[in-house]
Structure formats: structure tokens, C-alpha cells
């Protein structure tokens, strides 16, 4: 049996009484591990934040994040940022969390206000918050986590409150949507959605007037764990500590019944019964997680053929091909789950294990403590709630690329089939009807550019990594040439797949970064990129291009890249690095013949 620790009361559903009463003991338990990453978190409150901080500390330690905290004086969130603040500057926060609530809305509307006056009031309040965020971006350049607003406990207008322009609820909806727009436009800005959280918890329990008047807590004590956990979910996702793979048992977990006993015709899945529908809803939720890029695996004690018979039941939403690993045998599950982690090459601490059998869950926790095992019970209608509220898979944000990842790989499979029907590779490339967009960086692509530069290992000439802020600076510096490339073909959009960044010194352009996604290797895209680079160089009066190759264990494929582009070798450190130059001729002829560029 797994040893029982007080820290287990941090698992959903939180045991709030114990968390608050035993927080010091729980903290000592959590500190008993080897490694933590350290982060500095400033909490700026519009109300008391002390207990929120203490409980957030626990949830972060549980994720392996040891935080140092700065707390603003009571209700000084605005002054702390807008005015000179040496102690916060010295603190150098990695994250600033702004805990404001409905209590901190400083505007109110009068029943006589016109539409225009109301609109101005709303915009003024959004502007007050925007000025805080913009100042943080300018002075601290760190991550911002900002509460949106919960609904008020009571509404003097009744139902009108939500739609009449003078209503408080109406005002809150408008402010929240203003906050959301800021989040959409600003990298490093995240919303802590207390609007949802308070509704989920119940406004009647969320607001505690006694604690507001007595201690200036804008949130009831019983809701603090929920709130702190929600902040911790955002922080762990920002630092890439969210889980990556969901491992599922089969019988009574993704369908009702036992396939080995009941047979494929009698398991509960589909729309025929209430229980079958509930299991279908669970499968749909899991399928939706997969859509976010979460990997799925099966780990079940079953005969392999029988398990496959079950998964081939036509009413299943999850199909055999949805699982990256499928372990159905009679070995202990903790043995199989280690095999799954090895197969897909991720750490055990990236796995969440879902099983209706409490004995299996306990055994898993005892044998492989790194695997997250939610105490889901055995009632299918509760499974989703445990995964959802646990928030194990919650991403910090979605890049377009993450969402399309599955599709890219499906499209590639089609291209490969297609290639087989062409004798000549050039003819194949022609037939792809490729169209590229190769242009200077624009703000909307910076996030993807950042991701591509930092994730590409193979087609990467220098393996220089850049932070988002550095990339933004590069794109704004006129002494740089920074190009991105997107490629579309008859099978689909490959997305933004190549980047070149060079710096101009006198009449030379030095290529600091040249990367390309492996998705589009051998498609002549590198030639198209180079043609555009030369064209841009000419407009900047650059006469010579200098290329660098720094060898790593993964970028062998581009060792001869500059030779292929027609560069001359200038200098070579055998097995380590090489420097190349290219004199731009009077009449440059395009190297790419197959891709239509900027058509």
C-alpha cells in the first residue's frame, strides 16, 4: 500500500480543512525531495493574499517549483507597479501575479449614464489595468498572471443586471472580455479565470462577507485552495511541467463491463444505455485532449487479442490507431507503464494513469511514485471531473502549430504515397504545386518563430537559442535581416517552417540563425529562402554573405549546406565549425525553380 502523506490532501478534491491547518507540516513533507527549479513570484493583491501565497507555495512545491515570494502591501497593486519600486526591482520577479477581484473595480455606472458614457467608463477601467500590464512589460519584462473578475454575490437589478448597460454584471462581462483581448495580443500574459472558478464553486460559497469585512479576504477560505491550485496550473504549464501522456485502463474505465467476460457485444459503449452514454462522453473528452496534442496509451490486464476486440467495437470514439502505445498483457501495470514511457521517450513524471480499480491505483503509486494517479473512484461520470479539475494537461497557450501537429503528420503520409508514383524527383516536386510566403518577421508569427528556433535540432546551422524577448528585439533592429518562410502544397499547409536571421556589419551580412523544420526537408525550400535572402541583401546594399556552421551531435545533415548554396569555404575547424562566404554577383539567378514565392 502506498504510504499516506498529508501532502495527498493537495490532490483534487482538495481537503481544504487539512490544507490550511497542516500547511506547515505539508510543506516539510514536500521539501523532502532532491531537485526543484527556483522561481521568484511577486503577488500584488487588491485584497489580502497571505493564505493564497502559502497554499500556492504548497501546490508549486508539489510540481517541483520552489518559489520565493514578494507580497505587495495591502491593496497596493497599482502603486507597486506604476511608481518607482526599488524593492520589487531588486526582487527581479519571474512572474507577477495580480490578485484583483470584483472588489477592486474602481468605476461604477449611474442609472442615468448614456450608452456613450458607459462605454467610456468601461474603456477607462480597462485602460487602468492595461497601464499596469504595459508598465510591467516595460520595467520588469516578466510573465504576468492576472485575475479576471468574478460575478458579484448580489444584483440590485436582478436579471437586468446581465444585459442592461447599467448593470454591474454587464460591466464585469465587458471588463473580462477586454482582459481576454489583451491576453490574445500579448505573449507572456495569462488570465487566472476566477470568473469560471467562482461559478464552478458557487458564488454563495465563494464570497464570504465576514472574512471580507474582518480580514479583507475577497475569497472565502474554502475557495483558496481551488484558487491557488488554479494559479499553480498556469505556472507549471508555463515552465513545461504539464503532463504529456494519458494512460488508460480499458474495462470499466473507457467502457462499461469486462471485455474478457462479457464479450464485445455486451460492453457498455455508444448511445444505447445511460451507462454507455457516460462512457462515450468520457471517450470524447479523452479524444478532445488528444486534439490538444496529448498522447494516449493503454495499460490493461487483458489478453491482447481480446483487448483489441474490445477497442475495435464500432461504437468506440477512441480507435486503436489513437494510442501511441497499447499494452494488454498480464504483467504488472507498473512494469507496462515503464515500458510505455520508454517507448515514447518521455519521463514517468509526464504520465497520468487512469484506472477504476483502487488496488491498481495504490500499487501504481507505491511502485512508480512519479506517475500521477488521480483518485478517480469507480463512477464513470466523475472521471472527467478529476482530469479536468486536476488540470494535469492544461497548456499555457496554444500555438497554431501544436493544434495542427497531428494533421502535418497525416499529410506527410499522403505525400509519401504520392511520391511513389513519380519516377523523377523533380517531377514530383513540380506536382506538389508548392507556394511559399517568405517575408520579414511580423509580430503575429513571433511566437511560432521563437518555437521553431528553439526546437529545431537537425536543420539548424548554428543551434543558437533565443528568448522571445530577444527575437522581438531582433525583429525591430534595422541592422538585421530576419525572414520567415511558410510553405503550402497540394496536400495542405505546412505552416511556418523556416527562419533566417542575419546581422549587417558594413557591407557583410552574417547569418546568425538558419533553421528549417524537418517536415519540409528535400523540398527546395532552402533555395527559395536563399533567393529571398539575396534579394533582401541587395536592397540593403549588402555585398557579401557570411555563413557559419557549428557542429552538434544532431545537425550533421547541414554540414555541407553552404557548399550546396554555392558558398566558398573561408575557414574550417575540423569536426567543429566552418565559416563560408558568398559574394553576391551582379546577375543573381534564382536557385529555386519549383516553388512559387510570394505569388
Amino acid at each position: 500500500m502506498a504510504q499516506k502523506f498529508y501532502k495527498n490532501c493537495l490532490d483534487y478534491p482538495f481537503q481544504v480543512d487539512l490544507i490550511h491547518k497542516k500547511k506547515k507540516l505539508i510543506k516539510r513533507e514536500l521539501l523532502d525531495r532532491e531537485t526543484f527549479i527556483e522561481k521568484r513570484i511577486a503577488i500584488l493583491g487588491g485584497s489580502t493574499t497571505s493564505e493564497i501565497k502559502d497554499i500556492l507555495d504548497l501546490f508549486l512545491l508539489k510540481e517541483g517549483i520552489q518559489a520565493r515570494f514578494y507580497e505587495s502591501e495591502f491593496n497596493k497593486y497599482y502603486e507597486d507597479i506604476l511608481f518607482e519600486n526599488p524593492s520589487l526591482e531588486d526582487f527581479k520577479p519571474d512572474i507577477i501575479y495580480i490578485h484583483t477581484t470584483e472588489k477592486n473595480i474602481l468605476v461604477s455606472t449611474k442609472i442615468t449614464d448614456s450608452v456613450e458614457e458607459i462605454e467610456r467608463i468601461i474603456q477607462d477601467e480597462i485602460a487602468r489595468f492595461t497601464s499596469i500590464w504595459d508598465s510591467i512589460n516595460r520595467d520588469y519584462n516578466c510573465i504576468i498572471i492576472q485575475n479576471n473578475f468574478e460575478l458579484p454575490r448580489t444584483r440590485v437589478f436582478g436579471n437586468l443586471d446581465c444585459w442592461d448597460i447599467h448593470g454591474r454584471s454587464y460591466l464585469i462581462q465587458k471588463l473580462n472580455s477586454g482582459f481576454a483581448h489583451y491576453a490574445q495580443a500579448n505573449h507572456n500574459f495569462y488570465i487566472n479565470d476566477i470568473h469560471y472558478l467562482s461559478a464552478w464553486f458557487g458564488l454563495e460559497k465563494w464570497h464570504d462577507k465576514r472574512f471580507w469585512y474582518s480580514y479583507r479576504y475577497a475569497v472565502s477560505y474554502d475557495a483558496i485552495a481551488l484558487l491557488s491550485h488554479n494559479i499553480a496550473k498556469i505556472i507549471r504549464a508555463i515552465y513545461g511541467k504539464q503532463k504529456k501522456c494519458l494512460v488508460l485502463d480499458l474495462d470499466n474505465t473507457i467502457w462499461g463491463g469486462v471485455i474478457g467476460d462479457d464479450g464485445p457485444d455486451n460492453i457498455q459503449i455508444g448511445k444505447e444505455t445511460a451507462i454507455a452514454e457516460a462512457y462515450s462522453a468520457f471517450q470524447q473528452y479523452v479524444k478532445d485532449l488528444q486534439g490538444l496534442g496529448i498522447l494516449l496509451a493503454v495499460c490493461t490486464k487483458n489478453n491482447f487479442d481480446i483487448a483489441k476486440e474490445g477497442i475495435n467495437h464500432p461504437d468506440n470514439i477512441l480507435k486503436h490507431k489513437d494510442f501511441v502505445s497499447f499494452k494488454a498483457n498480464w504483467d504488472p501495470k507498473y512494469v507496462n507503464i515503464k515500458g510505455i514511457a520508454e517507448e515514447i521517450n518521455i519521463g514517468l513524471d509526464s504520465l497520468v494513469f487512469i484506472d477504476d480499480n483502487p488496488a491498481e491505483r495504490d500499487l501504481m503509486r507505491a511502485q512508480v511514485p512519479d506517475v500521477e494517479v488521480p483518485e478517480i473512484g469507480s463512477e464513470v461520470i466523475k472521471y472527467i471531473e478529476f482530469i479536468d479539475m486536476g488540470g494535469h494537461f492544461e497548456p499555457a497557450s496554444l500555438s497554431q502549430d501544436d493544434l495542427q501537429r497531428n494533421r502535418f503528420y497525416e499529410d506527410n503520409a499522403q505525400r509519401n504515397n504520392f511520391q511513389a508514383t513519380y519516377a523523377d524527383y523533380g517531377e514530383f516536386l513540380e506536382s506538389l504545386e508548392m507556394v511559399a510566403e517568405i517575408k520579414p518577421f511580423v509580430p503575429m508569427y513571433l511566437e511560432r518563430i521563437n518555437q521553431l528556433i528553439n526546437k529545431t535540432n537537425q536543420f539548424n546551422l548554428t543551434t543558437k537559442r533565443h528568448s522571445f524577448t530577444e527575437i522581438k528585439a531582433v525583429s525591430q533592429d534595422r541592422r538585421n535581416i530576419a525572414l520567415y518562410g511558410k510553405l503550402i502544397d497540394r496536400f495542405g499547409d505546412n505552416g511556418l517552417i523556416s527562419v533566417i536571421i542575419g546581422s549587417i556589419r558594413e557591407n557583410d551580412l552574417h547569418i546568425d540563425i538558419w533553421v528549417m523544420s524537418c517536415r519540409v526537408i528535400k523540398r527546395d525550400m532552402e533555395f527559395a529562402m536563399f533567393d529571398e535572402l539575396v534579394r533582401t541583401c541587395v536592397t540593403h546594399r549588402v555585398e557579401r554573405i557570411i555563413g557559419y556552421y557549428y557542429k552538434t551531435i544532431k545537425n550533421e545533415m547541414v554540414a555541407e549546406h553552404y557548399a550546396l548554396m554555392g558558398f566558398e569555404l573561408v575557414e574550417e575547424q575540423e569536426g567543429k565549425a566552418s565559416i563560408w562566404k558568398f559574394e553576391i554577383p551582379q546577375n543573381y539567378y534564382n536557385k529555386n525553380q519549383t516553388i512559387k514565392v510570394n505569388a
Partner: protein
């Protein structure tokens, strides 16, 4: 519940909140006697007491809970209601 029974229940709560296993409280213990007993610890005491004895202090009562004897007296009165 007698004052002594309430006091011994309170002692368990105090030990948890201040994370001191050998803390002894008496009817005379006040905020000066326990170093960590500040306004923030006070809130945690109040919350734990409310849960333990299944009661809710009124807004006015919250303002009058200054030491252990206040607590014992008020808890006893509320339980008797």
C-alpha cells in the same frame, strides 16, 4: 461540552496551526505568549475552530476573539444555543 474539553480540542488545533507538537495552552494564553500568533495565524485558528466545532462566528464575535479564554467562553456559549 465542558470548558476543559473545549480547551483540549483547542490545544490540538493550536499545535497544528503553529506546527509545534508540544505546545501547551491554558485559559490564560494570549497572543503575546505565542510568537507566531499574528493576525494571519488568527485567521487560521478561527477557520480551524469553526470546522472543528461546526459553528460560525458572527462578524461581531470575530472582533472579540482575542485570547484563549475568549475562545473557550464563546465556543461554549455558541454550542449551548
Amino acid at each position: 461540552m465542558t470548558a476543559n474539553e473545549i480547551l483540549s480540542n483547542l490545544q490540538v488545533i493550536f499545535r497544528d496551526v503553529f506546527d509545534e507538537d508540544d505546545l501547551i495552552i491554558t485559559g490564560k494564553t494570549c497572543t503575546d505568549d505565542i510568537e507566531d500568533w499574528d493576525s494571519l495565524a488568527q485567521i487560521n485558528l478561527v477557520v480551524a475552530i469553526e470546522k472543528e466545532f461546526s459553528l460560525k462566528f458572527t462578524l461581531a464575535e470575530l472582533a472579540n476573539l482575542r485570547d484563549v479564554s475568549d475562545m473557550v467562553g464563546l465556543i461554549q456559549a455558541k454550542l449551548a444555543q
